[in-house]
Subunit: 183 residues, 2 copies
Amino acid sequence: MVRPRSFDEDAVLEGAMGLFWRRGYDGATLEALDRATGLNRGSLYNAFGDKRGLFLASLRRYVRLEIDPAVNAVRTAPNALAALAVLFPPGTTVDRRGCLICKAAAEIAPMDPEVAEIAREAYRPLREALSEAFAASQTQRHPEHLAALVVAAYQGTKIMANAGESAEKIAKVAAGASAVVTN
Amino acid sequence: MVRPRSFDEDAVLEGAMGLFWRRGYDGATLEALDRATGLNRGSLYNAFGDKRGLFLASLRRYVRLEIDPAVNAVRTAPNALAALAVLFPPGTTVDRRGCLICKAAAEIAPMDPEVAEIAREAYRPLREALSEAFAASQTQRHPEHLAALVVAAYQGTKIMANAGESAEKIAKVAAGASAVVTN
DNA sequence: AGAGTTATTGACCGCGTAATCAATAACTGC
DNA sequence: GCAGTTATTGATTACGCGGTCAATAACTCT
């Protein structure tokens, strides 16, 4: 009775998300989004409403693919140090794209309540999981506060990455977090 | 021999900086910049070259007015806790504008090396001052790492502010930092 | 097979944008 | 006060942008 869609929605979002991540919201033009998704303008609008709709869908996909797995890894980490290693994996290179959610928070959230809510909700589970990991390892007196500190620092390193800060500088943040937990 | 400028450059930058801070780079249109600065288009271009030039000048003014004073306050703080209170003043409301430098880092730095450098340099003195404050209070084993952690967390709270996070949530980050220093 | 519904295509549009420029004004040094 | 230099004005421009739309294609159900 209807013509089915000829594209894989997740593949389309993969392309859109990648472009928003690299170029930001304003920097991602519809022409570039056409190319990145392989879809043409009209199909994009038919499927997602408008540019903002595509952006919101990309944000949700980012949370699902980039943040939720980290939350699960923290939940199953054997101890606090291992949980930290999820957020600050040792010996990795710096991804200058930073974090799509942090970029959206800075660029769009002040003018778009829905984006703001997505940004707030994105990191809450991570704080909670980290708080439980800290509480479980018994050595910390204020697990909730320390979790808030570490997650904020994690977001900070994503901004530093956008500014092109070196891996050494970012590793110092990780070292600071480890020192705190090792106390 | 020449016609002098009829405007106060710092007052003009005050207006431009405020608009960039509230609306971001792309969100600040030249028409709005005209209004915010009181200058008309041509004068703005004569004085600053182009929109990007005005933005760079605004960033530098922000560092001078918003970050440098904090660095000095940290330098003269009597102890580590007092230094922390400079970054996280107790009982203040959340300024949803966040930090202009962090916004610029997220939005512009990936595409503009000069903005990236300004962003990197802006927070370096703060890290150094904080590191010395921690070292001076003797109680911390890794002052440089802890300073990196705290400054990253500070930047994180600015992103949280952009996302509309509550004062309570942000206070937890501050509490976490204090707990670390009090160890 | 035909009717009905939705997806796709790609040309098209209006608008807001950053930037320009010729004309004019304001000031200084001689 | 005149020549020379720079600042100001504001109308104008070219263009890239997000968004639209009529025509066509693809599919399902009866």
